[in-house]
């Protein structure tokens, strides 16, 4: 029997930039993003895939990056919180709405929450309150009681002008 592969070289595109790295096979995507790429806006808050603070978008799918190995992302395109702002550094409509509606307090859940929002609105531009709540139910927030998060998303959902 041959030894199982312990590490592997992967190529990913994160927020439009390409990275090639050799990673241990067991490295979780969240750790790869935080520790290898030094993009520390993606957080981790649990060990069971429940909190959603590690949420990113991988090839257009909403993913909890603690539930995926870095090597599984080989060849894929990843979007993290650091890619949300407009190219000139100004806030995107989602970031703006979260701030305006005081949808963040400590801000720890916020990156994951905003990516879940982006995914939701891209797939359902006019969600009802119930659909919004379903859309973010995988993301825990201990600070806001979710009230202002839902309001922030509603403000985007009701706004025809918004391009995410």
């Amino acid at each position: 029997m041959s030894e199982p592969v312990k590490s592997q070289t992967i190529r990913v595109v994160v927020n439009g930039r390409e990275y090639t790295r050799t990673v241990e096979a067991r490295t979780l995507l969240v750790r790869f993003i935080r520790e290898e790429l030094n993009l520390t806006g993606t957080h981790f808050g649990c060990d069971t895939g429940h909190c959603g603070s590690c949420t990113v978008i991988v090839n257009g799918r909403l993913i909890k990056s603690c539930m995926m190995l870095a090597i599984q992302a080989d060849g894929m395109s990843i979007e993290t919180v650091e890619g949300l702002a407009n190219p000139d550094g100004s806030l995107s409509p989602i970031q703006d709405a979260f701030s305006a509606h005081h949808a963040l307090q400590c801000g720890f859940c916020t990156p994951g929450m905003m990516l879940a929002t982006k995914y939701l609105l891209e797939h359902n531009p006019h969600p009802t309150e119930e659909e919004i709540r379903r859309g973010i139910k995988g993301n825990l927030c201990r600070c806001t009681g979710y009230v202002n998060i839902v309001k922030a998303i509603q403000s985007l959902a009701n706004n025809e002008e918004v391009t995410l």
């Binding site: 241990e24 067991r26 935080r34 993009l39 520390t40 806006g41 993606t42 957080h43 981790f44 808050g45 649990c46 060990d47 069971t48 429940h50 909190c51 603070s53 993290t80 919180v81 650091e82 949300l84 702002a85 806030l91 970031q95 979260f98 701030s99 305006a100 005081h102 963040l104 307090q105 400590c106 801000g107 720890f108 859940c109 916020t110 990156p111 905003m114 309150e129 919004i132 709540r133 379903r134 973010i136 139910k137 993301n139 825990l140 927030c141 201990r142 600070c143 806001t144 009681g145 979710y146 009230v147 202002n148 998060i149 839902v150 309001k151």
Partner: protein, 821 residues
Amino acid sequence: MSGTTVTTQQTARTQWSGQSIPRKEDERLVKGQGRFADDIRRHNEAYVYLLRSPYGHARIRRVDVRAAQEAPGVIMTLTGDEVREIQKPFMEIAPPPGGYIEDYCLAVDKVRFMGEPVVAILAETAEQARDAADLVDIEYEPLDAVVTGEDALKDTAPLLHGKVGSNVVWHGLYDWGSVEEAKRQADKIVKIDRLHFHRFTSTPIECNAAVVEYYPGSGEYTFWCNNTMPQFAAMFMGPALGIPTDRLHFVTQDIGGSFGNKITTYVYLTICAILAKKSGRPVHWTEYRTDHILGGSHGNERTFLDIEVPVLNDGTILGLSARAIDDCGAYPRYEPLGSVIWSQVVPGVYRFRNVRIDYTQVVTNKCPVGPNRGYSRLQHMWMLERVIDIVAHELNLDPVEIRKKNYIKPDEMPYETPNGCVYDSGDYPRCLDMALKLINYDYWRQRQAEVRGTGKLIGIGIGSTLDSGTNNFGQARIINPELPFSGNGEVANVKLDLYGEVVVTIGTTPQGQGHETTAAQVVSDILGVSPDRVRVLIGHDNARNVYTGFSGTYASQFAVTGLGAVQGAAQKLKREIQQLAAGMMGSDPEEIELVDGTARVVGRPDTAIPFIGLANVVFANNATMPEGLDVSLNCTYTYRPPFKVPDVERKFGNLTLTYATQIHACVVEVDEATGETKILDYAAVDDSGRLIHPQIVEGQVHGAAGLGIGAALYETLEYDAEGQMLTPNFYAYKAVTALDVPMIKTAAIESPSPFSPNGAKGMGEGGGAPLHAICSALQDVMRQTSRAIVHDSFNPSERVYRLLRQQPSARRGVEVISNRS
């Protein structure tokens, strides 16, 4: 605030304070540029893994770490036997015999709760440290465990700490007025056998984390961490490590929530400190969620027994007596301070004056507790609100009327409670009316009757609470007269920097409360610059920032102590600026006004000096300083609230400075077939005195309501009889989600505090009002059905289902005794 806000009794607005300006914190946080503890990286750092006890109670027979030490990447291990040689037991707050408890950073000889750290492993990577833990060989001898407060007091109970001689940490009798006399005057006495307040935790989304580095050159340890009361930690760690506390350098930056849970992390920081010194490497420790729930910080569990309530037929409550047994888990740590902190709100919002509580705190084989949002007051106020609803239920009185009859009246403010606390201001009946209106009370009372028989039941509930803020630390002496603490305070520095920038430093440790923003608002009003030109350096950094022994963010006090200090420092700086500008422009300091970052002579807008010009004179050009002046433009002010040392014998004195009000009202729908409880409407009316930033205050109200709803219906920390924790992660601990919290309606009134420097009251913890309101609504449901008593603060579907089916013949645990024939 949102559209539902009804703000009245409004005080005069200044240009910035009182406005919901955009938060200064937000931009970096929405861009993912916050800097949280685990984001910190130090060159050459190594990683800590803690191997924890799988038993609730066991003797440690043998620990063999040899194989782990040989494992790839392992730098070193640390065991309890080694710790015993290096560390003195942490200070205990309780006097003897409770104070004989010996608490070390790793288990020594015995483990006393599942999750207690037993061996620490330091390795080159986090994965290697974790792998090596599998190679540690520990022989345990399991012991019987004790997992309830009541059992801990039994003669046959296993002892956790042999030296203490019992499981009691602290016992005290609180007795004010005369309950006996009240019982004689009463028409009836309502007796309730037992009420139980369950164990849960706020468990912030960011777990505990630290990077700790030892610098042999100065003997200094630096902790980049998320501890929220660092000087409290230092007070425990310095003596334990045998070093002066000024060698402990704490640095906090962005903190991902705490709710009190990050106060007692000194135990873990001590492990890291020992490893950092021994290894000569910066050490990095970040908890997993399971670690955090197993061994972090839980809320106090409390059982109330033999409650007796003397009442008049019209529902006037004359007093209350009860036994309280508080379960603090395996080690007291912040406790037994909770054993006095509850007495900040002895009568809650009510007028009765005769109270006797026989209070005992015990250890059990469970995770140690620590301050948890609403700390120690919410348990007591939950009991009071249960008493009100149960009395109403038993005497067939209206739950709204009985509250109004017993509420302290607005014209009685400031109101001295039976134990000498002075409620500063408030209007409880008005807040209640507003809350009822927000939920459309009359409509739901009518619906309630209509839906009966359809398989659904509607309950309407009220929770009336106080958020007592700005502790008088003198209350600790009621626990232990030897403790050299009293008062409270915070310090701030406001300065002009070299180029005239306004810079503020405070010793607080915000975790989402927006201190940068509100501090800037206060400074802006005084110095005449817009908040975006005020730089607020956040976080506790005792090598850079000012601080006091009380510094931190806890116990609903920033608006009073933190902003009080900022206000004082900004005013000092304003006076210096006026003196300097007057000297430079040849006018009087009184004639100088500060507008748009300039100092100018009133009525002569073109005679002005920008701040950069003033700074230049002081910092780079001081030979031009006007004759006779000695200004630094660097001003520090310590705010000290007006407190006295409480009377320890009588357990009497003002224990907190401000008392914010929260009156919540809710409507629930219960499915008779399943017991499932759904919230149909929810309103929270707050009185936090003068509001500095209404949106931030409302956000705190939402957050406290969200966690309270979670605790009432979904979140519980359960142990089995052997002390095995059944809910150690988010699989089993059902943290409340967006689907569980409704759109909370809010409103606020502002009754300015006459005692605080700005009219504001500390707020943020809430008083656990959702627990009270939801239990109250469920009691309202039982009123229509089985007449069962809602006796527990945690009411998942199973419990509601059982209560609905309780037989009329069953022991209800409540009795009404008529005093007169």
